[in-house]
Subunit: 141 residues, 2 copies
């Protein structure tokens, strides 16, 4: 089922699209990692850490398709492929940084809200699938 198109769709549809696109588990992490400069596939995989080869490949493809990164193949043996942010990709980092700062600033509030909710509705804890570290006030990182 797709969102129907209402008159007031002035500005939230594109947002939803972008968010859904970069909302992938690894996308932001990858973009951020690439901000240090071009990087090879294996290097990127190592830096990001924990991502499977298949998912890294497909995520990179999407980013390339959207014009956020470039993919440069050096047909040597063994082959070498470098990924690099485009201007558009680098530009995306700016609004991303704003949201990122907000996330950092307000994460305590969110975690508190979540803790309180779970305290008030213990039964909700069961099917809880939310953020991975909900839990018991782990020390500040």
């Amino acid at each position: 089922m797709k969102p129907s198109i209402h008159p007031m769709d002035h500005d939230c549809r594109p947002v939803g699209e972008i968010l859904h696109q970069i909302g992938g588990k690894w996308t932001v992490l990858i973009i951020n990692t690439l901000s240090d400069g071009p990087m090879r596939f294996s290097e990127l995989k190592r830096m990001v850490g924990g991502i499977s080869q298949k998912v890294l490949t497909s995520t990179l493809r999407e980013l390339e398709m959207d014009g956020f990164i470039t993919r440069t193949v050096t047909p040597s043996i063994p082959p070498r492929v470098d990924y690099e942010l485009t201007d558009l990709g680098r530009d995306l980092q700016r609004p991303l940084k704003v949201l990122g700062q907000w996330a950092i600033d307000n994460r305590p509030k969110v975690l508190d809200a979540r803790r309180q909710y779970l305290a008030e509705n213990p039964q909700a804890a069961k099917q809880y699938k939310g953020l991975h570290y909900v839990p018991q006030l782990q020390a500040a990182e």
Copy 2:
């Protein structure tokens, strides 16, 4: 597989979390809709348009759990439930607006990049699952 935790995780993990959380297909749409003021369940469903009742319910629960909205029950017959943005929820709209503006400003570039990519790699069009309206230069909306 979860992202492993590296030293350089300074600021992208929380971002990824938030993005993944609000990256749901409807989340932003709902937050935006609620910015006009409190709204009942059915009203919200109608405004958002196209969302199933189950998904609306669970999305609202998540937003409530994270402290972005409040849920107020009026135990009349028939019952009445109102949803309203909290301060935190309203505060979230600011960085969201930044990203939204970026999305609006740059969507043409993304769509162009996508068109070009699909033109160069016709075989990629097959398993293409990306943004819903990739396509043939539909008139400006």
